[in-house]
Symmetry: C2
Subunit: 350 residues, 2 copies
């Protein structure tokens, strides 16, 4: 099993202007320490206009990290295509890929936060068509030999070549967040890797992974378990009081995402969050890595039994202590297994 | 007198895809060495669709350099505003400013290359209005307290806040390229710094600097000579053969820029390049730092007599040897002069 990180720098302070640099620097230290501890990747969120200092220019930030790190893969989780000029985005992503010697994992999405669509004055109803068109342009940018043109609904380019060329061939892998089984099968067939959400119970994660695997193998290709990354909240708790604290943190986080997702003006907002059909506390116990290191090992073995071999940790507190505890007490249980060796072999053969 | 660099990584190889990483890495080493040698700044060009691998994502590239350097100022020379979503650009620039601890010099422009307008399918006739609107948005982004909205001709934002906040206060300095005296006076009054072009003879540079200075002092402010950066081609030549080689390089460069600037379909393209009224070779002798170190010192003293105290070197070959020769044999002649000391004092008092 391999482990990565999912998240980004955030200021919880009241004075964002003063705190921002400090929060970013703390997050940079966190990533550098994760690399030293053997984490495989970081997927960094990109959000806009939040008012609490989430990373907005994730590719810019990853370019900085490209210089500060040498092994850890650098991902966006995800870049929301409808906000970006796709030619500029392809240039920026290729630049990060080149500066990092081919370490970019390019997560892309169509966006889900009401406040972002509203802020950019882009109708949410255009999200899919804007996403599709932008992805089409980026693919052309990275796979056309020589110059190309594009005349779509939202973007026009005439006789252009996108430079620099990315380092990975044919281009940095695309990742998308997906939960719907049909969508998972479609992206699998397109050679896109998939990020599974942090809200689903292990059985559902297993079904999704199986759908991806079957779609890949249905094309006669070898399934690489590292093509499916599953995000899980990390909530190390050594006693009942710490567990209560972690539950409170989690509830606060979910409430926060819910408010950013829905239209505050709508009578009944539709949540993008998966319904779990249980109380928040029960849901957290079922869907996160909460508890002592031993409990967390048990939870990961449940996921492993579902075929999951790549877990992205999301620690809301960004705690170096938790990162080190996880690396010291949990990771060794999942290193060098037969399953991982098989994955590596398949990766090398792919 | 202070010295910076102007330019960017470029592949002159025939196979851009293979060469690009190598060219960028060579350029990174060049900047790092420049910092060690005491250069004050680098202004990096941004160009698109050239086919010879010029830096396209200059802020992304500067974020990487922010991690590799600690003192040298990091500039764009220039970011062409009409290509960019100004909210995203403000986020990216602020991120670079924060990651570099306040070292961003934010050069902005309206664009001049026909092939770029054509590639982005943006009419050249809209350059000014797009530039004006984008600059307005970026200023609002960095100076509004709390959230703001913008509803212009090309961009719409509703109730947004741009994060992170830049480190420099109130924001990274803006720089624009200007030659027209009225434009120079206007930007001076707006507190924008100015990049003077590399094609004008010293007397013209002096007139422009004087116009800037008078406009600033006319407002009762103290003129800072470091607010006017003059780019000069660096062409170190120790003998006649090297001089011929440098002249040939320069002619090739000017021809290249001319072709990118004009509309190839127009019967008579209008050049953005200043006419010098003399042969190319004579113009190069009048407008560049060509010759031996002693000759170059003489040329710089002519500029110094015109009031110029900040020179940005543009070496087409990106030669480390030339950089070191300049630092060793030319720079000491201009360090610690009374004039520079005065500038520093004024800067500290400003």
């Amino acid at each position: 099993m391999k482990f990565g990180l999912f998240g980004g720098a955030t200021s919880h302070g009241s004075n964002v202007a003063i705190d921002s640099g400090q929060d970013y620097r703390r997050y940079i230290d966190y990533i550098c320490e994760a690399e030293r501890l053997g984490f495989h990747s970081v997927f960094m969120v990109e959000h806009h206009f939040t008012g609490f200092n989430q990373v907005s220019a994730s590719l810019t930030f990853l370019a900085y990290l490209a210089a500060r790190t040498s092994k850890i893969r650098l991902g966006t989780g995800v870049t929301v295509l409808p906000w970006h000029n796709p030619a500029l985005l392809a240039e920026q992503a290729a630049t990060v890929d080149m500066l990092s010697n081919g370490r970019l994992d390019f997560g892309v999405g169509r966006g889900y936060r009401y406040a972002e669509f509203s802020g950019f004055c882009i109708p949410m109803s255009e999200a899919q068509e804007r996403y599709d068109e932008a992805l089409d342009v980026i693919r052309k940018a990275w796979t056309s030999s020589g110059r190309f043109s594009h005349h779509g609904k939202h973007w026009h380019y005439d006789n252009v070549v996108i430079e620099p060329a990315p380092t990975q061939s044919p281009h940095p892998p695309f990742w998308v967040g997906a939960g719907n089984l049909d969508v998972i099968r479609t992206v699998a067939r397109e050679g896109i890797k998939v990020l599974l959400d942090q809200l689903s119970v292990p059985e559902v994660c297993g079904q999704r992974l199986a759908a991806y695997r079957e779609a890949v193998e249905g094309q006669g290709r070898v399934f690489n378990p590292l093509d499916v990354g599953l995000t899980r909240g990390l909530h190390i708790a050594m006693n009942a009081a710490e567990r209560d604290h972690q539950h409170a943190l989690r509830a606060q986080f979910l409430d926060h995402v819910r408010r950013l997702t829905v239209n505050p003006n709508a009578a009944a907002g539709t949540l993008a969050m998966a319904a779990t059909g249980s109380s928040p506390r029960e849901a957290t116990e079922k869907t996160t890595l909460i508890g002592t290191p031993d409990e967390i090992i048990g939870r990961l073995k449940v996921l492993e039994a579902q075929g999951i071999e790549y877990v992205l940790l999301m620690d809301l507190e960004g705690s170096l202590d938790s990162l080190r505890t996880f690396a010291r007490e949990v990771m060794p249980e999942f290193s060098g297994t037969a399953r991982e060796t098989r994955a590596e072999t398949q990766l090398a053969a792919a």
